[in-house]
Symmetry: C2
Subunit: 357 residues, 2 copies
């Protein structure tokens, strides 16, 4: 956060630190918002969210993955972060153990702490293809496992075979599996599969903040097993009452697949350009297949990438997220680059880094 | 929730169960929303919320209470519920004890459970004027105390002397005091005082859902001591990233004091009419001074008001919230009536109850 603040101080900062898309939402979203304002949609919705929106999400899963999800199993949440909080409340008791990958998104750990649970960081680095694999869970005594595919910060998509194996392992061992699929709309060289394709008992989180380009609308979803649907509704009712109503009406117009394809294509081109440029100066161990991040190993420039990120910001006004934000597993020499700006901006940033180095 | 669902099944239901205002937001809110949509305000804000909005809230506290609050101490939250979650995370460790009034809003207890803390229900019934008083805290070993003024479900406003005494007691005993002032804009016969008037170290929650008539915009605030401001920002960043952006722009136009006065006057008239009508059939131990609830003792009709509420719904299609939702202290014979509909609707409801009884 300190870095973000300093990055905003310079007028000419190059932003590789920003975790939200710079593209506008699907065009129907603006129209839907204004219509909802005119129609006076200012009250709460039911805690699970508008049924019409839950039906659209169910349709999305049928269309994209060929899986049938009852709208009763879907909760609309105020952002995907809060969806995790609901999920943790459902499956983690005080003192229970949650497995997370190292590196991974730093907030997972903090949600678990809020829920009184313990996190077990499972090293999932270059040797594991930046994925958790079933054999890595042996002896960990987990109540729940949280995976993210594509992963933030590495952009790694779980191999389908490994994903299925993990689902089966967790099912057999009685481990609740939470699959964070928020970045699914931004997968570039293949079509991602949902963990729900292999088992109805996993918990899946998604949302409108990334591929749908609606971060400020604060809208996500959580899909839970049928047996947890009523409890999940209770938790939602307690924790946040309902998700923002105008955002829900907006989201009804967000499933504009032509537009979503354009967004994905735009990010794919950026990924390719930034990847080609960065690989000339850093070691990129994880070819990013999704999300909008590239994870670079900067060890050839010293053993303190945090210090390097500070110097890049101060000397050439390039903001990059230091790896240590994402865990302890070879993160101290890593940097995360976001490609959430246009190509000229990205290339200018790389040129400045080259000049500095 | 089951009751709410059944209430929606009948076309002619009289709604005494609804906890959100039926009046529209201040007129500037619609305009602000459309302008924000046109301006493409779809990204995250900083986690604490728009500085311009935090300044407006600071100005509101200066205007209404004569207290100076730095915008740095204010967090914009996605609803007041999430504000409590942040507050509990700040002041409650696993296993620590939180005092709440019995009766009070049922979600408090569940937030505490989520945070791994223990709740201590402090009976605060008719004999205590439905307020917690310092002597009631002796020997309770609390880490934190959560009060609400005006209170849901009783509409009780804490006496200013008692509020000050509680603040002093908690200060002296090292108990973190959380003051829920969400209903402050709806106080009818006097001007409420904030707990912040007596001490900078209390935590105060407020929001736009009730007096500002913006429930579906999901926007609240939390005011924390200066020493907790950075930690609170971290918790916000983790828990929800930022509050809905369009809602924040809308709220910039919500401090329309002429309109807010009209809203308050409307609810005051309803309170007076409903109170006069209900006191003919129930014992009203707590003259409601604020919020939009009237708490009735129905013991003259038997010892099971939950059953009575079910029968009222089934037989005459009148939905009333049973007291047991709010605790265990003489709640089994109590009913909560909301006055969030127009007077004709309210009076029709009372007439149906009279016919049934």
């Amino acid at each position: 956060m300190a870095l973000v603040r300093e990055a905003q101080r310079y007028e000419d900062t190059i932003h590789f630190e920003v975790g939200q898309p710079d593209l506008p939402p699907p065009p129907g979203v603006r129209r839907a918002l204004k219509e909802a304002v005119d129609a006076g949609k200012f009250g709460y919705t039911e805690s699970k969210g508008l049924l019409s929106l839950r039906r659209k999400i169910a349709h999305h899963y049928r269309r994209e993955y060929g899986v049938e999800i009852s709208p009763e199993r879907i909760l609309i949440t105020p952002g995907t972060s809060v969806a995790f909080m609901v999920a943790y409340t459902l499956v983690l008791g005080v003192g229970e153990r949650l497995g997370i990958a190292d590196p991974s998104y730093p907030c997972y750990k903090n949600f678990a702490t809020m829920a009184g649970a313990e996190t077990v960081a499972i090293p999932a680095g270059v040797e594991a293809g930046f994925q958790i694999r079933p054999e890595m869970l042996e002896g960990r005594r987990l109540s729940a496992l949280h995976i993210a595919s594509p992963n933030n910060p590495t952009g790694t998509l779980y191999d389908q075979e490994n994903l299925e194996a993990l689902v089966r392992y967790c099912e057999a061992e009685g481990i609740a599996l939470l699959s964070d699929e928020l970045y699914h709309g931004l997968v570039y060289d293949t079509k991602p599969q949902t963990a729900l394709a292999f088992c109805d008992d996993v918990i899946v989180a998604g949302g409108f903040s990334k591929a749908f380009c609606m971060p400020g609308l604060r809208l996500g979803w959580l899909i839970v097993p049928e047996s947890l649907a009523d409890t999940a509704e209770n938790v939602a009712q307690n924790l946040y009452l309902s998700a923002p109503t105008l955002s829900q009406y907006a989201a009804l117009e967000a499933f504009d697949y032509d537009y979503l394809t354009q967004v994905r294509e735009t990010f794919k081109i950026r990924r390719d350009r930034l990847h080609d440029a960065l690989k000339e100066i850093f070691d990129i161990q994880a070819k990013p297949q999704g999300a909008f991040y590239i994870w670079c190993d900067a060890s050839q420039y010293g053993d303190d990438a945090f210090d390097l990120s500070r110097k890049l910001l101060q000397k050439v006004h390039v903001a990059v997220t230091p790896g240590i934000d994402f865990g302890r597993n070879a993160t101290q020499t890593a940097l995360r680059f976001s490609y959430t700006r246009d190509i000229d901006h990205l290339i200018e940033g790389v040129e400045r880094i080259v000049r500095y180095l």
